[in-house]
Symmetry: D2
């Protein structure tokens, strides 16, 4: 127990507040006084004069797991003084993901592989789909990730979402829409606000909505892209986390764009999910601050 109390853990502190002098001094002094050693620190100010300040600190602290509640209690007055939105997290707590899919498997496979390889430090707690198609894909990984089929029709949507919420329970850190082809209701979105990441298969804001590859082909663009963003009530308009593109030419058919695009989609989604899991993303209105 004593040994355990002494085990050094890695903690994270995320802060967002109005910018003004003294914030870094106050935070770093607080951590120092708790015996924490700052391992990594990032900060950003939208404007030193009256802008907003964002900070992410990673620190090493003996007995972190046990001391988190005490840290939070002690930090509260500092936070109040600067009007901070803030949270501590234990880097060693493995976050639990729910992955929503339909029929396309590439994004799901990417997440499964990165979890397995350790590139993505998270647990895929369950997979929910409106189709049975990918059940075998999930089961063949053999580590017992449950695959739940929840059919969705316009009529049954409300009921389906109730069922999905049941399955999600209360301890899911992030919902990943890995090419999930259904639109979530505002009620669902608001319940999991800033905890739903979607991959859209275009370089937003270009080609929002359905069939982006057909749209891209019709316009004759020379690059196609993918965009990972937090889901909001407005379709494909949430805060952008990550984007990337690949070159295409006149030779590429719509089917080629899909094939090329799959590689971008899975890479972009995987990066966005990793950043969320590592507490690297802060929200600034409808934009993101990503301390990658």
């Amino acid at each position: 127990m004593t040994a355990e109390r002494q085990r050094t853990g890695i903690g994270r502190l995320l802060i967002s507040c109005p910018d003004r002098p003294g914030i870094v001094a106050a935070v770093s002094r607080f951590l120092f006084e708790q015996g924490a050693n700052i391992v990594h620190s990032d900060q950003h100010s939208t404007d030193p004069e009256g802008g907003r300040f964002f900070m992410r600190v990673e620190f090493a602290l003996a007995g972190l797991a046990q001391r988190l509640p005490e840290l939070e209690r002690r930090f509260a007055p500092v936070a109040r003084r600067f009007g901070m939105e803030w949270r501590f997290s234990d880097a060693e707590r493995v976050k639990r993901l729910a992955v929503f899919v339909s029929k396309a498997e590439h994004c799901l496979l990417e997440l499964l592989w990165r979890v397995r390889s350790g590139d993505l430090r998270a647990e895929i707690a369950l997979v929910i789909s409106n189709h049975p198609l990918l059940r075998e894909t999930v089961e063949c990984w053999g580590n017992g990730i449950p695959y739940h089929v929840v059919p969705v029709t316009p009529e049954t949507k409300a009921e389906a979402e109730r069922r999905q919420m049941e399955l999600l329970g209360d301890d899911i850190d992030l919902i990943v829409l890995a090419r999930y082809m259904q639109i979530l209701s505002p009620a669902f979105v608001s319940r999991y606000r800033n905890r739903i990441i979607n991959i859209h298969h275009s370089f937003l804001p270009a080609f929002a909505g359905p069939n982006p590859y057909e749209q891209a082909f019709a316009r004759g663009v020379k690059l196609i892209g993918a965009t990972a963003h937090y889901v909001t009530e407005e379709l494909d308009a949430g805060p952008i986390i990550e984007q990337d593109v690949a070159r295409v030419t006149h030779r590429d058919s719509v089917e080629d764009l899909r094939r090329i695009g799959r590689q971008i989609e899975r890479a972009v989604l995987a990066r966005a999910v990793a950043w969320h899991v590592e507490d690297r993303i802060l929200l600034n209105g409808n934009k993101t601050v990503v301390f990658a």
Copy 2:
């Protein structure tokens, strides 16, 4: 003279026609029979069954300059047989560019440098601007490129375009809008159809119209881009020739986006202009076939 007749030149043949068997055989046989040696050849078919066929052939031929008219006469019946749009060009004829600018110099400078370094094999015949600002930039290059100031106001636009057409004369191969901040009239555009290239400072179709960097900043995209396209009557909607992007982060202000974007704009525009000058671009409706 005889020696000159024998001088081997490089010619280009560009073809666009309905696809059907025998086109390549007929074209390559024709060139072979004329004594031409195919140096390079590219082709593309949108669909072997009832699609459109595009071809670009570069060939070496003794006495090319003198023999072009004869080649064209002899090729006409072949072209008729396949319903071809076609043209021959002499690769050694240096194309004449007119560059339109306003106050931003980076795209103009890029073109001046590339012509001087030989990376862009063309002649900048004149520069036309609605501002005197860049006169010195052009003159300091000392090779006597004329710089014409043609002020434009809503009232004088028609008169200004008449003046511009006078200055352009009849032997300009390409008009380059190098961050020219005026919109050309449909009459002007149609007179130089497929001979006006514009650089738009966004990844079209995202952020068309004014202030694309402000739009990109407001949306919080993670990549910014530039697009070179042929100018049509519809603003920023012409056939896309080339696009590229650069990564940006939450740290970048609108001014940073402009600074980063300048590098993309000049590179993208220079590539598009080079491809046009080298007869590498064919039009397929509102899209381009680029044999780069």
Copy 3:
């Protein structure tokens, strides 16, 4: 049967010979006379004067499968006339791959996924490893790809390679070394000359040999890369097919380089294998001509 005879197939003709006038005319005329319609054609000459000429033609032909032997017989005299190295292939014949692995699964998984998704049109006939570790990975795909363990030690290497050759049999089109950590003997390499592709985890020629990521970290490079190349007797010195890089920073440890590098390795290897399978690669001495 008659119907089958008439079924239109896609064929490919690959040619390499000394450049001289008339090659394209002769080839395209030949194909036209056989009733073939050229669907796609690429060519390259290292120098129209006394250089080497490379060509890849894709053509549609009724009853291709049945007519290939006849095509080859008829083409022989044309080929002789120009001193061609040449071969026809039936695009619809699915090539058979043997994948060699050790303990790293990312490249193997990438190939399995791309075959399954149809992005890579090939059959993985067998997997050979010097370790049992990845047996489950292969079996979980359930489509019965055999996984053979052939341990290798300095003493047993010759015997191991005999065993590997037995397993490979006579109808393997390509051996893919998907992070296979053993060096093949010259005898083995020469038996499968130009049919073995290796992925090296550096931007060759930098960091050849063992531990490229450690080497890259020690040198402090700002980009790391991967290289897919044909295997020759000289280690990491064979013809390069494809390379790519990713950006790294001072923050990245050797372990980070490995993680980032895995993404490049699997993408570069998959592209190289696809190009080989689609007959897009021709050899020019120790360099490749890739008609991608």
Copy 4:
């Protein structure tokens, strides 16, 4: 004067020392107590346990210019306590560059343009060349940058370097070798240690030494690159600051590689120079920490 004393300036503090708890707290507290507001801060530790710690802080302070000596005096004891290498700088002091060139103008032009456009906040104090060739290029910019020709032969090298040092005088912040084709003596290098940046036209460590494009062409690489690094006594082996690459194909001749490479060289060099000028580069042995 009082007004001037109150003018708020931007200062920078760069630190490098053995890592241990309390550094950030001590530094941020110090700055806070001086009335400075931290505008931006980056840090890096090679290893929290016994590694080396690097920090760059940008801060706003009233009357900075006048208060720098006092700041340094007051910070000295803090620095001593942690065994820091450190320096303060005034972000508003424009650094003075000396550019060394030979016959290639692209890198020089890039620097001239970026200074003029304000993308690079520095002053080009003089240009030194072993050839008269680029005199006109420099003079045409009309802002009076002196161009000095210092011929170099094996016999006269020592004398030439003495002349160069005279011309450089005592207040040059950075020497930029913008495709300067002479090797500097160890004596010269050690006098300006960590103040000479060279652009090498390959992706180091590949193709060090002369004719990298010929080497790249001979090896058949699919990407070519450029590397900006600090010059040390060992040729092309100094700390790498920045690298980038561009794709090439079998179609590209050595001359094409040079043309494509020029675009990479000038971009890579310009970024490296900007980072040096903005005090973003710290040295970690033979590697760089770049707080870009």
